[in-house]
Amino acid sequence: MNRFEYVRPTSIAEAVAAAGEPGSAYLGAGTNLLDLMKGGVTQPSRLVDLTHLPDLGQIEQLPDGSTRIGALVKNAALAHDPAFAEAFPAVAEALLSGASAQLRNAATVGGNLMQRTRCAYFTDPASACNKRAPGSGCDAIGGENRAHAVLGWSDHCIAVHPSDFCVALTALGAIVEIEGPAGRREVAMTDFYLLPGDTPEKETVLDAGEMIVAVRLPAEAAAFAGNQRYLKGRERTSYAFALASAAAALKIENGLIVEARLALGGVATKPWRVQAAEAVLAGAAPGKEAFEKAAEVAFAEAKPSGDNAYKIALGKRVLARALMMAAAGTPERMPALPASPFAPLPEGVVNV
């Protein structure tokens, strides 16, 4: 790990000022950042420690009915907050399907959004990687790339976004609150991440010195609480990143789907909202036929970036199954294996 200057601001304004210095990085828990620094993947010259800032650790209900999650709320604390888990069960399920209990106890909400891809070529400084060293090339293209993206990739980068939490947030229309040198602004989750294009090193809309202060779920997102799930295909049933995952939320009235909210994980270069597939479901009767059709639409633009064509078939089945599980109703208690395909299926859900 390189040497760095350690700065501990006492206010957001101080933090933003300290992080304006080139080479600075914000420190949350550091569960991803320190790992990358140990591997020489990132070498910040200054760490601005946000963990002692006041007022960023609350989960609040705002007067307009929206839910505001402070950037320093721990992943585990959010998932186990009874009111939050009841209103946004797929978000809680996604959180609990990620990392390990130790990491979830430390990792923050803001840090989860800012975590980097686990592409093995990105994390190996000896490999060519346009994200880590712009212009150096991409060893993942033509390399070991069965875990890489089938949606949103470019000739410069095929790395997937690793988060589960962000997939559920994206489905439910979350908004990111940002503070920076130019003041406060808000960006929808769907606009927060950038496609790699020919600048894969630029991953988010954040400008130099800008930090996430909170993530907000709008009031209308809570209307999907009764029918929402997160499902995650992976190589182990616990403590592994997604190969293909899906967050599915449905509003069902009189036996018909009124509205659907869908997003994909593990298959794309950013958390991937699929509004065209949501539109297919509006007005449809919940069931295998509608769900398989939605899955086809969700992956209509998908194409392999290497040895990963299987992800298109897997992703469709994961999405269709997540929809079947959502339609069966949010379980009363979090399953023993959150988001796992190995958890017992709810009654009426058939293998798709």
Partner: protein, 165 residues
Amino acid sequence: MNLSLTLTINGEQREIVLDDPRVTLLDLLRERLHLTGAKKGCDRGQCGACTILVDGQRINSCLALAISYDGSAITTIEGLAENGALHPVQQAFIDHDGFQCGFCTPGQIMSAVGLIAEAQADGDAERIREAMSGNICRCGAYQGITEAVLDAQAKISTGKERDAA
């Protein structure tokens, strides 16, 4: 550059001065305070051998900058036994053969203590296995570990009920 911090470690308040901000909690405990119970397995948050409790919550001490935890209360495996009597989780690991070589054991035990405090797993072995997935045992003593956690959890909750009565 000198960086000072205050930590309460196993009940004792310590004033610590660091000459380098890169020191992790794990390296602080092992190399500077000579509390070598927490182990350095992978040093990258993947194996769980370095698990300790910070303010009662289990975390990977290898991915925690010590300076950032200024003001925290830390419990390590050295702080579990009271007056020479083993903690119920320690005793349960012995009773159920929850280890072979023992390298991962301090991390397993600290993780189990944290898990029981989280009170999410009740008596369900599947929930215990899921909640212990951040602790790798290369000897493969998982069966004994699961039994030990179930047993310790039952004994701790019985003890609590008795205390409350």
